[in-house]
Amino acid sequence: MSNSSTSDLLKPFKLKTKQQELLIRVSILCLVYILAFITRLFSVLRYESMIHEFDPYFNYRTTLYLTQHGFYDFWNWFDYESWYPLGRIVGGTLYPGLMVTAALIYRLLHFLRFAVHIREVCVLTAPFFASNTTLVAYFFGKEIWDSGAGLVAAILIAVCPGYISRSVAGSYDNEGVAIFALLFTFYLFVKAVNTGSLAWGLASAFGYFYMVSAWGGYVFIINLIPLYVLVLLITGRYSMRLYVAYNCMYILGMLLAMQIRFVGFQHVQSGEHMAAMGVFFLMQVFYFLDWVKHMLSDTKLFQEFLRITVTCAVAVGGIALGVGMASGYISPWTGRFYSLLDPTYAKDHIPIIASVSEHQPTAWSSFMFDFHILLFLFPAGLYFCFKRLSDATIFIVMYGLTSMYFAGVMVRLILVATPAVCLISAIAVSATVKNLTVLLRSKNKVAQIGSSKGTSSAKASSKASLDQSQPFQKNGAMALLFGAFYLLSRYATHCTWVTSEAYSSPSIVLAARGAHGNRVIFDDYREAYFWLWQNTPPDAKVMSWWDYGYQITAMGNRTVIVDNNTWNNTHIATVGRAMSSYEDEAYEIIRSLDVDYVLVVFGGVTGYSSDDINKFLWMVRIGGGVFPVIKEPDYLVNGEYRVDKGAAPKMLNCLMYKLSYYRFGEMMTEYGKPPGYDRARGVEIGNKDIKLEHLEEAFTTSNWIVRIYKVKPPNNRW
């Protein structure tokens, strides 16, 4: 009785199935949106609201400039503080999307009277866009499969470590907004292909424009989409929808992209963009042939015509490309592009690309680390996609396969593969779970009805009729379902663990465990940069390896010789040469570069391993690449890199060695070890009696991580 009365009471509030579904879907999306944001806040809670790593400091500095001076000054900004004495045209050599986005958010918040600091906006931009990416993933999933797959995709991408690695709070980098823009462009394009609507095509062109403004990875889009179109053409899936979508997206996207100064006319002049143009003309030929076929009733005539047209088109295209390449109008592929297609290319030809750890080929373990179960779900998802082939699933399959290849070539491109892997895995999860639940539900219902009807014979017969075919089906489905949920929960745990342990360290502030288990913080970088800012002349020039260039200009507010932009290899090689020469030779170079201070990073006291001594061989290689006087074997002993007594004499007396180990020989670093024991490399250093003639120690941070030397003025001759 009471049961029925409560159900009567609740009747007006009872939602229809559809409404229930909508409610659940919207609340899941809201929760995922929030989850994607808060899971990226580990670093803010553990450290503080600060910008991480190296490149984000440049972005932060430019954003600051943008908000203080306005857009036109930013666009025309010539930066005297980097690449001294060359300078850098900042407005023309960066992708402004990220800065403009952050500045707009900042303006909007101030318009709404929320007086936040621009730093907070910059720190939280990446998590905010990660949240938006989950929404795009949902709609994309819905477009290619169904709303269930969309939801799973949103959840998977919200916590996927491959994406979190570049979008934690504080990692204010182009990738933070670019992955959103990438996925959004793809979604809009697939939507345009599915509907054939000009409006969606236009939207995808604008999405592409945003992507071009945000990240150099747009080249992936402008090559993947033509490839996809080509595949559709070959598999005979050419349609008017495709024609409208591609032409609209390509033409408008190209024109819009030319507005970005850094990209300029590359869309019509660079080899990397020629595939898109070729496919564009191919589309026109296809359309023309279609039209002619429609007009001509005679098939034989048409065959003839087809042959002539195709030959002409190929010939004209080939000649145009050949003439363009020969006359230099079309530039050949860049080194970075080559190194993507041929993983060994960079190692042999461009040491500056190879020296960056994130450009190394990916290890299997990092796939496992960044994708976890998605790695196994990915093939399953591909299977489902092939089973239900459509224009959209072909797209996602191609995106998944190509990006997986690139992820294998370079560690940092795991990021590009992540959305595809999440979407394809989501299809696998969603399809499997759906199949299992359909099995479970149909059975439950029958059993329920049977029991409620009450008659034993009916029960028996219904049971017999349904269970006959597949015994233990229900139990099997149950077990599989639990297995799936167990795996997914393991995935969630793994993602949280990875985020908290591996990806939430700002790398400016180093944390270690002390002897008593307490947390010790090494804040040496900021100590040094702030010292530079406060206690050197405002026009002082600081020479350091390029890794620290952005940080010195942003946090130390001083002019640097080279920075992370790495646009001028010769300049970097000059610095590398100075670091690997003897002191008096180096002094000549330093004088010629008008350097006042030299900054080195040294981890021998704390055991911090990514210091300049460990990077030194790259300096030698890059320096030697331009100045053959620097030879790598001079610094090695039997091909081995050493800093102890057995090290090469040139090594023991080069500037980098001297600056790193100056007076370190008197220092006791570890109990029971001789003085001058280098904890980062675990050896006693080979040259303890270091005298500096032309430089003097100006500042060393409390844990010796950063050491700054002042360049003395030349001696009087008389």
Binding site: K16, T17, K18, E48, M50, R113, F114, A115, K445, V446, I449, G450, K453, T455, S457, A458, S461, S462, I508, I521, D523, R526, E527, Y529, F530, W531, Q534, N535, M555, R663, E666, M667, E696, E697, A698, F699, T700, T701, S702, W704
Partner: protein, 611 residues
């Protein structure tokens, strides 16, 4: 040397000029110069006597220009005897004076005595003068290993426009080495204290230069600029934010800075450097932070008790001579400790200067940010300050908060006195910001609702728009069909329930009545269903759904018939008084079919629901 020469020059001027100012005579002067900090404090006890016939109420104090330009603070109080109970001391009014016929190289201040001095009367008062930048480092540049030596110059004789009968001077130095000092007659040295005098019967404007050269490794912390922002929130908080630009004001460091030496023997190699600063914050200070432009600085300690909160902060690096740093500290204070009300006016009563210990501030700017909507603002400060108003736009402000800006140069800890800002503020203005937020969200939701209900398509005649509308109509109709079907199904359930009642009570009549009622209802429902079905048949966009809907209706009708038949059979059985077992056997087959049908109908319903 230059300053010596300057002093002599000045002295000659003084002596040449020396007029008889008045008949006042200083019968006893005791001067104590404290050099134990980089802020020089001179405390003098002066006994003044009127030797002339006229009544005098003004006493002039003279300072050489060199000193006067460094003077930060000057206060005179009546002298209290040693044994007396200390009453709250009332300061004597001090004013800058510009008496005629006086040498231009001297700066004068006049003290108004509480009562005029008649002939032969005497009065004793204390004068405290505080000077900044009065210690000159010599040598001016030192290396890390050197100690810091500073030079102080003054006169052994009390410089005064009056004749002085008896006077003495003691110079208190920090407990360390004395490099050299001027030896005059009657000079004694006791540990770290140098005594000059007593000297008797010196004429007015006597001057005898002395110089003390000594070691001082005390923190020479000078804030070149300090901006204090005090923000009042009537929700219970006073937020203080202080932006410091600090410099070590002692001897410049030169040559190498060796971290190794500094780590090994910080007191020898780096004796003149200071590593930390102490701030005494008011009690119950909370949410203290310490950061600079590039982020949080983790080296600070906070201790608190009921009297005060002590904050110890370490700059990012040890401060050597001439090194600079900049940082910000901020803290919240409970509102009730600092905000009071009088005459329907509120006033903030808070200290003026920095809470840092022994800090010289070259330029101090205090900004008091009042809540938005404050009016009638006035300031009461214990000493003259520059003053103007600004506005600041902060969270949720429309036209900004009024800001009172006070500026003072050359500030020493003695200036850390309470000042008041009076203003009018209506309690209702407090609700402004919450109401703004509420209305903002309200309008946002209203906008959403309007968007959901408004038809904003541009072309009302386009094919897709029409199709969409038709589809919506079809959906509405299908919804109705579903409703009717589900009502039919409930009727079926009612019939089943009546059968159960029958088996329990055996009331055949009631059961028949139930059937009749159900029959009528079902007929009505099928009538309602007809126009809906015809609409669906006519509508082109329903073509996909139509077969399913029709199937559903047909199945339901079949189900209806079956239920009726079953009902009839069971009732019949009861009428014939058959056994329950018999009846069950009879309907078993029907029951099976019913179950299957019901299943199909449910499936169809679900399918249609998903469209």
């Amino acid at each position: 040397m230059e300053s010596f020469r300057f002093c002599f020059l000045m002295l000659t001027i003084a002596i040449l000029a020396s007029p008889a100012l008045s008949d006042l005579v200083l019968s006893k002067v005791d001067r104590r110069i404290y050099l134990t900090s980089h802020i020089v404090r001179i405390s003098s006890t002066v006994k003044v006597e009127n030797a002339g016939p006229e009544k005098e109420s003004l006493v002039l104090l003279a300072f050489p220009e060199q000193q006067a330009k460094n003077m930060a603070y000057l206060m005179a109080t009546p002298h209290e005897g040693k044994g007396k109970v200390k009453n709250p001391v009332v300061a004597l009014p001090v004013e800058a004076a510009n008496p005629k016929d006086m040498p231009a190289a001297l700066t004068f201040y006049s003290i108004s005595l509480p009562m005029g001095l008649a002939e032969g009367d005497s009065f004793t008062f204390d004068v405290l003068a505080v000077f900044t930048h009065a210690l000159r480092p010599i040598p001016e540049q030192i290396t890390q290993a050197d100690i810091q030596l500073v030079l102080y110059q003054d006169s052994a004789h009390y410089l005064s426009p009056y004749a002085v009968k008896v006077q003495s001077l003691s110079v208190k130095l920090p407990d360390s080495r004395i490099e050299s000092y001027t030896k005059l007659e009657n000079t004694k040295i006791h540990g770290s204290e140098i005594k000059y005098g007593p000297y008797e019967n010196l004429p007015s404007f006597s001057y005898s230069p002395i110089a003390v050269h000594f070691e001082s490794n005390l923190p020479f912390s000078v804030a070149q600029e300090l901006v204090r922002e005090i923000e009042i929130s009537h929700w219970g908080n006073v937020q203080v934010t202080e932006h410091y630009k600090l410099i070590h004001g002692g001897a410049q460091s030169k040559g190498e800075f060796s971290r190794l030496d500094f780590l090994a023997r910080p007191n020898v190699r780096g004796a003149s450097a200071f590593r930390y600063l102490v701030a005494n914050l008011p009690p119950r200070a909370h949410s203290v932070y310490y950061r600079d432009e590039i982020g949080n600085i983790s080296t600070s300690h906070l201790r608190g008790d009921s009297k005060k909160t002590e904050l110890l902060i370490e700059p990012r690096y040890p401060m050597f001579g001439g090194w600079r740093t900049a940082f910000t500290i901020g803290y919240g204070l409970p509102l009730q400790d600092f905000l009071y009300e009088s005459d329907r006016k509120r006033f903030l009563n808070i200290t003026f200067s920095s809470p840092m210990v022994e800090l010289v501030i070259d330029a101090l700017i205090v900004k008091v940010v009042l809540p938005e909507g404050s009016s009638d603002i006035s300031v009461a400060a214990p000493f003259p300050v520059e003053q103007w108003q600004e506005t600041k736009i902060s969270h949720l402000d429309i036209d900004g908060r009024p800001v009172v800006v006070l500026k003072k140069t050359n500030v020493v800890p003695e200036h850390n006195q309470f000042f008041q800002v009076y203003y009018h503020f209506s309690q209702l203005s407090m609700l402004r910001e919450p109401l703004m937020l509420i209305s903002g969200f309200f309008f946002f939701f209203v906008a959403c609702i309007v968007y959901m209900h408004a038809d904003i398509s541009i072309s009302k005649s386009s094919a897709s728009y029409l199709a969409k509308q038709q589809w919506e109509e079809v959906q509405a109709v299908i919804q109705q069909v579903q409703n009717i079907i589900s009502r039919c199904l409930t009727t079926h359930d009612n019939l089943e329930a009546s059968l159960r009642d029958l088996s329990r009570t055996g009331n055949i009549q009631a059961c028949k009545a139930a059937r009749k009622a159900a029959d009528g209802l079902l007929k009505e429902l099928s009538k309602e269903l007809k126009p809906l079905l015809t609409f669906l048949q006519s509508s082109p966009s329903a073509a996909q759904v139509l077969p399913k809907v029709e199937e559903l209706v047909a199945k339901e009708r079949e189900l209806q018939e079956k239920v009726m038949v079953k009902h009839a059979t069971v009732v019949d059985g009861y009428e014939k008084k058959l056994g329950a077992c018999d009846i069950e056997n009879r309907v078993a087959l029907q029951q099976q079919k019913l179950t299957a049908l019901r299943q199909e109908v449910d499936d169809l319903l679900e399918f249609i629901d998903e469209i």
